[in-house]
Symmetry: C2
């Protein structure tokens, strides 16, 4: 994707499919940017984790949503599910190579949030005080 410095040129042209609600890219975007997708991917970006570990890592998620979101990510080929048939069973989740590539590109974004949350909160206060 060329970020052309040409005036009036659409550098996002290659993304026009995500802007199209009919394109599968939109569905992929929704899966990842759903309320829990990114957090799960970020958690797994560090290391494989078991169901209960993920549940503990990600604050506020219910078992239902964790399970549901994981199934979606597995179906999308971003996460792999591995079962050890012990008693009690161990089920661990890890990123596929596809998921690793994605998570890498997510890092910057999540890093930005960590660094600039304070700026956003300041902006919110400024905005609220001003009316």
């Amino acid at each position: 994707m060329e970020v052309g410095s040409q005036a009036g040129r659409n550098a996002w042209q290659g993304l026009s499919d995500a802007f199209n609600s009919e394109c599968p890219a939109r569905e992929v975007l929704d899966h990842i940017t759903g309320r829990w997708g990114m957090l799960i991917l970020a958690a797994l970006g560090e290391e494989p984790q078991r169901f209960s570990e993920l549940h503990a890592t990600i604050g506020g998620i219910s078992e239902k949503m964790l399970s549901q979101t994981l199934r979606t990510l597995v179906r999308d080929g971003l996460v792999e599910r591995t079962v050890e048939h012990t008693t009690p069973p161990r089920v661990s989740y890890e990123l596929t190579s596809l998921g690793q590539g994605l998570t890498k590109s997510l890092e910057q974004f999540l890093g930005w949030i960590r660094q600039h949350t304070i700026d956003v909160v300041a902006a919110q206060h400024r905005h609220d005080r001003q009316r």
Copy 2:
């Protein structure tokens, strides 16, 4: 917010705040990754646009959601709203410098989606056929 006790365990340590449902970072994450936030930011990442232009660019969004999401992004200090009091009025939206930094880090992620949507769709089919 340094938590160094668990040595070497969490490469995402700096993000532990996003994992905490009580932290404002979670709210920022939700605003941006809400259904329309990213698409609006991506659209504005190219150039300032008017309300109706955004509405045309982003497939499937209603005026209500566009308006609502824009207000949130303006409050968060990511987007600036400019009114020209002509008749009919012109209202244009553009990224603030804060929003520009964010959108830059978003580029990679959105680029990944564009490039790998096809892989995800293939994985979905493989998964569905296999059961």
